[in-house]
Symmetry: C2
Subunit: 98 residues, 2 copies
């Protein structure tokens, strides 16, 4: 079988991760709380997906304080943007061949 | 956030299930062993994905004997074909909006 999904990236398999990456493609950075509100995910669920993307090297984390409050924001890395673009291309090719 | 992935179907989230469904969209039926060879999955992994698709009502199972050998084949259901088409449309819309 010609593997149309050869470039399918399991790091982006879930709906949550597709959404997280799409948000970060159009926003330079996004805070944990803004993500939570936007995507309607629980803390635990969101943290798990963000950590997985961070461990893949696709998302970077910035921890800082605003006054005395910790504020964690997330951005895509160059590698992450390229990997996500490759993944979308693989999906597009797959759909076109159906 | 406008949910572009509202029609995203978690039953088709994995690469394996996308491949299984795409094979069944163009073949009336496929045997377990042919699937295994085609997709390069282990028995356990393939069986798990097929069972999940069966439990969703997207794939039906036919068990018969060829001579004395049991032969299990799989087909899509009408519901499965529609759900898969909806899923691909949701992905296509998502990609187009990136």
């Amino acid at each position: 079988m010609k593997d149309l999904l050869a470039q399918f990236n399991k790091a982006f398999e879930s709906k949550a991760r597709l959404n997280i990456m799409s948000v970060l493609m159009v926003n330079d950075s996004m805070s944990f709380n803004a993500f939570k509100e936007l995507l309607g995910l629980t803390d635990g669920n969101l943290a798990t997906h963000l950590r997985a993307l961070e461990e893949s090297g696709y998302v970077s984390v910035q921890k800082q304080f605003i006054g005395r409050k910790p504020n964690t924001t997330y951005s895509t890395t160059d590698t992450g943007r390229q990997a996500f673009a490759d993944h979308l291309n693989a999906l597009e090719e797959f759909i076109r061949n159906m």
